[in-house]
Every structure is written in C-alpha cells, then in structure tokens.
C-alpha cells in the first residue's frame, strides 16, 4: 500500500516539477530548463524509482547540489543570464535535480516541495503571459493532488505503528502541544498489532481521486479570485506587459529615417476599439482607419533627413466640446462613434485621434489644437505608464472614415467657439497658416516639378479643377509604379540633393513619408495649402475582442490639402453641406502592397482568441493597480471615491431603497420601522452575545450543554418503544445496571439475575426481569400482537415486584460483585 502511495506521489511531484519548470521557461522564453527537468524526472522515474538500478547517496546528492548552485552563480557572474530572477530560477532547478535520484523519503519530498514552491514564486515574477494563468490551473490541480498524496504518505507511514510512550507530565504536555514525536519508552508485557484487515489500504481509483480534487480546486480558485480582487492596492504603477521598453508615438519633428525605423518595429503601441455612440455596440469600420497623430506643416531639408515639424499659432482648447455643442447638421451627416484607446503614454503627450471630436462620458483631461485637430494630454496624467482615453468622433459615415477633415468653425456652435475666444472670420484658413503651408523653394526640386508637370500634362485635367489635378498626382504616385515602396533604404544618397529630390530623381524607392513629402511639396508648388500627417493605419483587427491592435509597424504618413467650398464644387468630389468653409482632403500617395499601410484591407490576426485572452489578462490581472482596483468597485458606487468607501455607499443606497419599499413592496415592505442604526446595533449585540457565549462555552464547557448535545449523544442502536420495557430499563439504570451495547437484552437480564442469585440471599422467584423480557420478545418478534390481559397483569406484578424489592436487591448484588472484583 505504502508502495502504491509512494509511486503516485513520486509521479505527481515529478509532474509538478515539469510544470513549474514549464512556467519558468515560459517567462524566460527558453525551453532549456524545461528540457533539463523533464529529462531528469523521466530518467529518475525509470532508473531510480522503477528499475531501482541506482540511487544517489545522501552526501553525493549534497555535493551535486553544491556543484549545481555554483554553476548557477557562475552563469550569473559570466552574464549568461543577465536578469537576477532567471539566475535564481536556474539555481533552484539545478539544486533540485539531484533530489530526484535519491530514494524517496519524507525528507526528500519535503525538500522537493520547498524547491517547487520557490520555483512557482519565481515563475510568478518572471511571467506576464496569459499562459501562466492558464497553466496555473493544472499546476494548482497537480499541486493539490500532490499535497493530498503527501498527507496519505505521512499518515500511512504511521499506520499500525506500535509505540511505547512515556506517561510523564512533560510527555502529556508535548502531546497537548500537538507534537507528533513522543517520548518513547520501552513498555514490556504489552504487545499490540494491527489486524490485517484493518491495515491502511487506499482504494480510491484515479477517477474518484480527480472527482474529489475538482471541488477542492474550484474552491481554491474562487478564494484566490476573491483574494486577488479584494486585496487593497497601494501601488499606482501600471503594468507594462508586452508594451514595455517601447518608444512609441511621434514627436513634433519627424525625419524620414525615423519613420523608417518605426515601420520596422513590431512593438504594440495601443489597442483601439470603436463603439456606436447611439447604440453603444461595438463598431467595426469597413477599412483600416487613419489615426491622426502629429500634423506637420514646416519642411526643413537636410542630408538624409528631410524633417517635418509642427508650426501652430493657436493655443489649445482646454476641453472637448460636448455632443450638444456640435452643429446639428454635422451630427446628422456623421455617425457618432466612441473611440476607446488604451495606449502607452507617449513621450510628448500626443494622443492619436480621429477628428472632429466631442467629449464622451469619461472625463478625460485632454486638450485639442484648433488648427490641426491634434489631441494632447494635460499635465495631470503624465505620471502613469498607460492610459485609457475615450472620446467621440464624427468621422464615420456608412462604415467608412470620411476623407474630409473639417475646420473647427464648421463643427462647433458659436457659443462654444466664443467661450474659447476663437473668432469666426470670413476667411477659410488663417492667412499666416496659409502662407506657411504653401511655402516652397522651386530651385531645390527640379525633378519633382518635372515629375508634377509630366503627370498633369498626361492626365489632361482642366486648370480650374485643382482637386482633379491633386487626385491625378495622388493616383500617379500611388499606382504608376515609377516610384516604389520599400523599407530598404541602403541605396547611395546624393548629399548635394534634398532627400525628396534625390528620391524622385535617383533611387525612386522609399516609405510612406517619402511619398507623402513628395506629394505635399508638389501640391505646395501649385499653391495648395498642404501638410503632412503622421499617425497609424492599423489593419490588424481582432474579431473576438472587436479591437485593432496597433503596432509600430502600422505607422503611416499621408497628406492633407485644404480646399475651399468653391474648389470642391468645381470638382467631381461631393463635399457634404455641413462643411461650409471647405475642408482638408486626405490624400494617400503611398503605393499599396509590399508591406505598406496604404491598402485599407482589414487583416485578421492568426491567434485572435489568444490575443484577446492576453489583452483581458493584461487588463484584469496584470494591470490591477490601485486605480484599476478602485475602478472595479465603481460599478457599485461613486467613481471618484475609493473602492471600499463606494462599496459601503452603495450598500447604504440599497438599504435606503429597501427601506422605501422599492426592493420589497406590499405587505412585506419594511417601511419606516427599519432603521439602519438599530439594525447595526442589533447586529453588533448579536455578535457580542455569540462571542461571549462561545468564549464561555470554551472556558466552562460543562456549563453550557447546547450545541454539544448532539456531539455528546451516545450511540443508541435502537429506540425502546415498549413502555413497560422502558420502565424496567430505567429502574435498572437508576441502580447502576445499564445495558452495554455488546449485550442483547436477554444476556443483560441473565447477567443481572445471575449476579442477584450469586450475591443476594433472597431467592429470585419469580424472576421479574426474565418474565418481562420474555413478554417483550414475544411482542417484538411478532408472536403476539398486543398484550393479553393475563400478560398485562403479569407485567404489572413484575414491575411492582421490581420496584418493591428487586431494584434494591439488584443494587446490593452489583455492589457485592464490584467489591468482589475490586472495582
């Protein structure tokens, strides 16, 4: 039996070791330790535990453990494992391995248990993966099973053990303290041995074993869940997760090389999701959205650079307008969509957006630049690593993002504009801004101008259709194939030329910013106010979680050109009526394909479910700092207060509603008689009373019998249902004759009468006990159904005789016998 438990325990602890190593390997993203532990466990199962070919001597094992520890330390010193925790994991595993090759005893299992527990702690520190959470469940199940088996192993070790123990006061004290080791003495003359049929043999099958573990693990899981979410947090740091060590976002000065680097990075920048502002359901656009970041108007040429920078003359608006402050005609034209962004805080505080904006229900502290629609966070939240921002946008119609970006005047009502001192003058675009956005030096871009002229002449667009000419340039750049999209920018660059001129004239390969810059400069050369917009165009849509996962490689650059209402009216493009003053037209000259983000097709990620699980894991587990912990309780109460206070407040509201009959109405309505103060006072009094009672019962157990009545009730196999017999037994019990469980009634009566005959001179004739017993047996086993009159009179006379002198005689007889045997 012991062998069977031992085998199971060995198997379990090996499995647990493999799982623990797996968890560490998951964090390290290397299977080295897992392979090592797996091999060791399997080899030890086969050669040490099963075939018993060899086992390590205790001292050899200690030596190997020291060697293992030295290896781990040397690895750390040599810098093989730069992170301290990985070295600790290595140390634990190296030291643990020799234990598998020893004979399994309690000591070995204890040592393995400690090492495994420490490994799990380290695994918790080096992991942030959702797989850890998933693997924790089997680890918990196997861990519990191992611990139960260990309890069996220890207990079975003691089964049948005969111990001669000291009866001294100290020994009793140790025993009271719960010590399992007794002070052993040699007790001669008494031998005890367990019967074979009483030996400990666990009989449960694997199925029954696991069936019992399921509720145990469920209880553990629920408790751990409650513990995790109810534990008050004092730390406000955010979880960085897979977004850690990222440098994301754009600054207000962006060079060509910088965008190239960004496009080659796979790092996650943000999670973007949309929901319908009216129905509050998830909203999925039909094509990849353009997320605006920085809006850059000034171009500064330089060797291998070509910097674009911001030039804004307006001070930002301190808050977003509400949806009611948006002009009604604009609201009618576009679908209100709530944009939710969870992103790492960027270096310059820029927030990606889809203008025009309005405020959602959240009270996010952001400011908006009126000329560029750039969003920026205010100073208050810059202390966090991650932020979640929500705002409304009116940029979608028929499931697609509008190519027009409005001017501020056309979106918000006059009152809102006046509140920020923004005058609504007659000109569509600020003259100063107009000048800045049309600045162009034709001497530096000869090839570019040639290219422009060639496109315009080829397309034969009439001169007054300036938008048509613009679209022709965009189409040519994107689709003609003269310039190709590439992130490989190793071609020789001419330092005497502007990088864009060099791009158009010589190497003809570049990424989106080259194309956008080329187009922007071409349009400026035509006197069209143009700016370059950098942002993201995510195409990785998660259908399960209904969100876009935005990575650095989704960075994109495009062009916005401003056209007046009249210019639109002269073109083939229909500008909605709500754009009174004109609009910025989005132009994307980057060729699609070859890894560019210009194509708007949505791509479905291969491991959507896993990604979604990872996101949930990040949100609800890894990012559970103080603010998120408080946010969980916001569903119960006021979001501005802390979690526990809001919980109490919500309980108070529920109570008030109960009191007012809103929860339980009619006859059972509590009404005014229910008072919170009285209820609390009564509750406290009841608690005190229970505590006092329990304390009193603990101190004076014999004084208060209730609650222990059931525990103290002796086992009675049957109920005496015949009154005369009950009376007889009661009379006998009063004089010390109580029927022991091992005696039948007849044996008991025979014993009592024998004692009477042997010890009392008075003859026992007739024998009342025997007579009553005979009558009882006749009734009990169905010989007669009821007492006949003669039986009844016999019963009465027997009971009388017993009461008159029988009980006293029996009492004397008992005393005499007790005296004889020395009791």
């Amino acid at each position: 039996m012991q062998n069977r438990v031992l085998q199971r325990l060995t198997f379990h602890i090996g499995t647990l070791a493999i799982l623990a190593a797996g968890l560490i390997s998951l964090g390290q993203q290397s299977g080295r330790l897992l392979g090592l532990v797996f091999a060791s466990v399997v080899l030890s199962w086969i050669f040490t535990d099963w075939l018993k070919w060899f086992r390590l001597n205790k001292f050899v094992a200690y030596f190997l453990m020291i060697v293992g520890a030295m290896f781990a330390i040397m690895d750390y010193l040599r810098g093989v494992d730069s992170q301290q925790l990985y070295s600790v994991a290595n140390l634990l595993i190296y030291v643990q391995l020799p234990l598998f090759f020893q004979t399994k005893t309690r000591r070995i299992f204890e040592q393995l248990g400690i090492f495994l527990l420490l490994e799990l702690v380290v695994a918790a520190l080096v992991n942030d993966n959702v797989l850890y959470g998933l693997l924790l469940l089997p680890v918990m199940a196997v861990g519990c099973s191992t611990m139960v088996l260990f309890a069996y192993f220890i207990s079975s070790d003691r089964s049948g053990e005969a111990i001669g123990e000291s009866n001294s006061v100290f020994a009793r004290f140790l025993q009271w303290m719960g010590s399992e080791t007794t002070i052993r003495v040699n007790v001669s003359g008494i031998e005890v041995r367990l019967n074979k049929e009483s030996e400990f043999r666990p009989k449960r099958s694997w199925v029954a074993w696991f069936a019992e573990l399921v509720p145990t693990n469920l209880a553990l899981f629920l408790f751990a869940l409650g513990f995790f979410y109810l534990l008050p947090r004092i730390n406000t740091d955010s979880y960085e997760g897979r977004w850690r060590r990222n440098v994301v976002g754009f600054s207000e000065r962006i060079s060509l090389a910088q965008v190239g680097e960004i496009l080659q990075s796979d790092q996650v920048v943000m999670r973007l999701s949309f929901r319908d502002g009216t129905s509050n359901r998830a909203f999925a656009p039909l094509e990849a959205p353009y997320l605006r970041g920085a809006c850059l108007g000034r171009y500064e040429p330089g060797f291998q650079r070509g910097d674009w920078s911001l030039d804004s003359s307006y001070s930002p608006l301190a808050s977003l307008a509400s949806s009611e402050q948006v002009r009604p005609e604009y609201r009618q034209e576009f679908l209100p969509v709530i944009v939710s962004i969870l992103e790492q805080v960027q270096t310059d505080g820029l927030i990606m957006g889809l203008p025009p904006f309005y405020a959602s229900n959240r009270d996010d502290l952001v400011e908006v630049f009126p000329d560029t629609w750039a969003l920026r966070e205010q100073e208050q939240f810059s202390s966090r690593n991650r932020r979640k921002i929500e705002f409304g946008t009116l940029s979608f119609t028929a499931g697609r993002q509008s190519p027009f970006t409005p001017l501020l005047y056309d979106v918000y009502d006059d009152r809102f504009l006046r509140s920020y001192g923004i005058p609504r003058d007659g000109s569509a675009l600020n003259p100063k801004l107009n000048r800045e956005l049309t600045r162009f030096n034709p001497t530096r871009f000869r090839s570019l101008l040639e290219y422009r002229d060639e496109v315009l002449s080829r397309n034969n667009v009439r001169n007054e259709d300036i938008i048509g000419q613009t679209l022709a340039i965009e189409e040519d750049l994107a689709l003609s194939g003269k310039l190709t999209y590439s992130l490989n920018l190793n071609a020789h660059q001419d330092p005497t030329l502007d990088p864009i001129e060099d791009f158009v004239r010589n190497h003809k390969k570049g990424h989106c910013q080259y194309f956008a810059s080329t187009m922007a400069l071409m349009l400026r050369s035509m006197g069209i106010p143009t700016r370059v917009v950098v942002g993201y165009r995510p195409s990785e849509f998660n259908n399960v979680g209904r969100f876009f996962l935005v990575r650095q490689k989704h960075a994109h650059t495009w062009v916005e050109a401003f056209f007046t209402r009249e210019q639109f009216d002269n073109s083939t493009i229909r500008l909605p009526a709500c754009f009174v003053s004109g609009a910025w037209l989005r132009l994307d000259p980057t060729p699609p394909g070859n890894g560019s983000n210009a194509g708007g097709t949505l791509q479905t990620a291969r491991s959507q479910t896993f990604d979604y699980a990872q996101e949930l894991w990040g949100d609800y587990v890894m990012d559970m700092n103080k603010s998120n912990s408080d946010a969980i309780f916001q569903m119960f109460g006021d979001p501005t207060s802390n979690s526990f206070a809001s919980l109490f407040r919500q309980a108070e509201i529920i109570f008030l509603r109960l009191q007012q009959g809103q929860l339980i109405g009619g006859f059972f309505a509590p009404g005014e008689w229910l008072n919170l103060g009285i209820l609390v006072a009564v509750g406290i009094l009841i608690l005190i009373a229970v505590a006092v009672l329990r304390g009193f019962r603990w101190v004076m157990p014999s004084w208060i019998a209730f609650g222990k009545r059931r525990a103290a009730r002796p086992y009675i196999s049957g109920v005496v249902s015949f009154p005369f017999l009950r009376q007889m037994l009661k009379m006998l019990e009063r004089v010390g004759w109580k029927r022991p469980r091992h005696q039948t009634l007849r044996e008991f009566v025979s014993d009592a009468e024998g004692c009477w005959q042997a010890n009392v001179d008075r003859p026992l004739d007739p024998k009342p006990l025997s007579m009553l017993t005979s009558i009882y047996y006749r009734l009990r086993f169905g010989e007669v159904r009821d007492l006949s009159p003669s039986d009844q009179s016999q019963v009465d006379s027997c009971l009388e005789s017993l009461a008159a002198h029988g009980t006293s005689a029996l009492s004397r007889a008992r005393q005499a016998r007790n005296k004889a045997i020395g009791k």
Partner: protein, 403 residues
C-alpha cells in the same frame, strides 16, 4: 459508566506547514509592497490552500466518535482483539484520513512506578457521513490484571498536510485480563480424595456434564448447544434447553494465601523475590485452572477464600458467571505482607461447616502445630492440607502454562 468527555479540536502546524507559511509570508509581503500581480494571484492560491486546510481538517474531526469494544474475557499471554468503531455523525461531510491513536496501560500500584503507555496507530481512509468504520487490533499481555484503555486521540492532516487537527476522547475504559491457565495434572484428585463422599456409583452418562433429566428452561449464555430442546424451541419460538440434575461429586473448599515479604525485609535477593512472585502467580494460576476444570466440566462446586490485602470469599461456585467473577478477582489479587491466613480461615467458618476438608494453597510455610491455636475449632478440624507453593509442593498436581 463511561464518561463522555471530548476535548476541543486543536489545530497545529505541521513541519511542512511551517515551511509553507514561511514562503507564504515572503510572497505576501512581496505582493503587498511591490504588487507584481502574478505574485498576488499566487499568494491568493497559497492563502486559499491554508484556509481550506484549516476548515477541512477541523470539520473532518467534528462529530466523529470512537467506541471501543472488548472481548467478553481475556487471559494473559493469549492475544485478544479490541475493536474500535469510528462513527461520523455529520450529515454531509465525510471524514478522511483519520489517524486513531489508542493507548493501553497496566494499572499498577503506585509504588511500582510509572511503566509507560503502549500506543498503537490506526489509519482510516474515509468515514462517509452518517456511517462508521471498524478497526481491530490484537493485544497480548504478559500479566494478569486490570488494564486501562484510552484516552484515544484522533488526528488528521487531510487534505493538504499543512495543519494537523487533533482531538482526544478523554474517557478511559478498564478491562480485566484473567490469569493464564495451566495444566492440572492427573494426581490432582489425590488432594480431594478425602472429600469425596457417597454416590460413588458409576453412571452411564451421555455427556460430560449431564445428569438426570430434570426439566426445561430458557437458554442462557454459556449453555451448550447440545442441551437445546429443538421441539420445544420450535413451539415456543425461543431457545429452550434441557435441565439436568447435577451430580455433585465434589465439594471443595480452598483458601489461597497470597503472602509476600515486606519490601526490604527478609531476603533482598532478587532471585528470591522473583521466586516469591513466581509462587504467587503459580498459586493464582492453579486456583484459576482448577476452578475452570471443576465447574467447566461439572465435576463439583468450589468455595474459595482469597487472602491477600483484602480477604474475599466466593462460595459454591457453580456457574460460568461465578467463575468469571472469581477470575476477575484473581486477576487483580496481589500478594501482601499483611495477608492474614488465620483471619481468612476464621472468616470461612460459616461456609466450611458442610465441607469435610479445607485445603490451603499458600506462598509460605507455617508451623501448623504452633499457629493453629488462633483458628476456630470448627475450621481447625477440617483443615486437611497446607500446600506451600514456594517449596514446590504443588508440582505433582499442577504445571504452569507457557511463560
């Protein structure tokens, strides 16, 4: 009367529990101070384990009772079986992995020191709710006497072995182990030759104990199944046995004088002391064996006086119950330096009047001609034999059982 006294359930950390708690404290401190969330999750699991262990191991022992059952009688050197029943009175929850620790101790006079307690562990895998499980162990004791069983301890490490809950059932029960039986040698009849009278006719007998048919009576424990009168049993639906007129061939009267020298007096030699103890045991075993022989085979009745610290007289032992009472008394008989054989003989005056001869089995030799003056005349006239066991005078009649 067995007193029901149950100590409250106590929970103590096991060694593994201390290891676990040590690591848990570090995890908790790390989780609270640094808030690595997975460490908090892990700490939650560990705390849950500890909590589950505490609740389950306490509840496992709650409302579990142990009852002990002894055999009807037991002899020294012959193993007897003790039965322990663990009953779980809980309605829903079973009790798993119960370790039952029972204790046995020989009750000895205080001057002989504290000999320690013999314990035995038993493990029960599971006692389902509202049911019970049986455990048995065999016990073999070398010496006759009164033994104390209990208190019995219940403990469990279920489920995770982090805590051990324990509880004691404090009641103790007493059990008397009878003296071991020896062999009465064939010459034993010579001792009682003079006591046999009349009725020396040879009977054609059907069995060893039957006499002439006398009547019918209800069955009593100890009656031979051969005496059952099946026809009447069937008619009355209860066991009825035949009664016979007993042929009382022998009416013997014995006094057992259990004397030992006062400690520190007389011979201090260890071997001599051992010899004296040996003599006492021989005398007791002889009387026990003789009684079993005479009463068990129905050869006669016996009146026995036991002169030790307190003189006891048991007269006309004929039934099995009387034999058991005598064996109980012999089991706890103790040799004493102030055992007074004269007083014993005088106390037997009333019962020996009808018995021709009295035999004294003693552990000392007495100069009868000198010492008989203090003895009543009626007893004196019937005193037939004085057997000094210490001088091996019992050897022709009795051989002790295996030591």
């Amino acid at each position: 009367m067995m007193k029901h006294s149950v100590s409250p359930i106590r929970c103590r950390m096991t060694r593994e529990g201390y290891h676990f708690l040590f690591i848990l404290s570090f995890v908790l401190i790390g989780a609270v101070l640094r808030s690595p969330q997975l460490l908090v999750v892990f700490a939650g699991v560990l705390v849950a384990m500890l909590f589950l262990q505490w609740r389950l191991c306490r509840r496992t022992l709650d409302q579990v009772r142990l009852t002990r059952e002894f055999p009807l009688n037991a002899q020294a050197t012959i193993p007897f079986e003790i039965q322990l029943t663990a009953t779980n009175y809980k309605r829903w929850l079973g009790s798993w992995l119960l370790v039952v620790h029972d204790r046995i101790r020989r009750e000895t006079p205080s001057e002989r020191g504290n000999p320690g307690v013999q314990g035995i562990n038993m493990v029960v895998e599971n006692v389902p709710p509202n049911s019970s499980r049986l455990m048995k162990y065999r016990c073999r004791v070398e010496q006759r006497g009164r033994y104390e069983f209990g208190p019995v301890d219940l403990s469990t490490r279920f489920p995770l072995s982090l805590l051990r809950s324990m509880r004691s059932q404090n009641e103790v029960e007493h059990f008397i182990v009878h003296p071991k039986q020896g062999t009465i040698l064939p010459r034993w009849r010579e001792l009682f030759d003079r006591e046999r009278y009349g009725n020396r006719r040879h009977h054609a007998r059907a069995g060893t104990t039957e006499g002439e048919f006398y009547g019918l009576r209800s069955y009593r424990p100890g009656d031979s199944p051969r005496w059952i009168h099946w026809r009447t049993t069937a008619r009355r639906s209860e066991l009825v046995v035949k009664q016979f007129e007993r042929q009382e061939n022998l009416q013997a009267c014995l006094m057992i004088d259990l004397w030992c020298p006062k400690q520190g007096e007389g011979s201090t030699n260890g071997s001599a002391h051992g010899t004296q103890e040996d003599a006492v045991e021989t005398a007791i075993e002889f009387v026990a064996s003789l009684t079993q022989l005479l009463v068990g085979k129905g050869l006669g009745s016996l009146t026995i006086g036991i002169a030790d610290r307190n003189f006891t007289l048991i007269s006309r032992i004929q039934s099995r119950n009387q034999v058991l009472a005598l064996l109980d008394r012999l089991a706890i008989a103790e040799a004493s330096h102030d055992a007074d054989w004269r007083d014993g003989l005088n106390k037997m005056k009333g019962v020996v009047t009808a018995i021709p001869h009295l035999i004294v089995i003693s552990t000392r030799s007495v100069d009868w001609t000198v010492d008989q003056q203090d003895v009543s005349r009626s007893v004196r006239s019937r005193l037939a034999t004085w057997i000094d066991v210490s001088k091996k005078e019992l050897q022709p009649y009795f051989q002790r059982g295996d030591r």
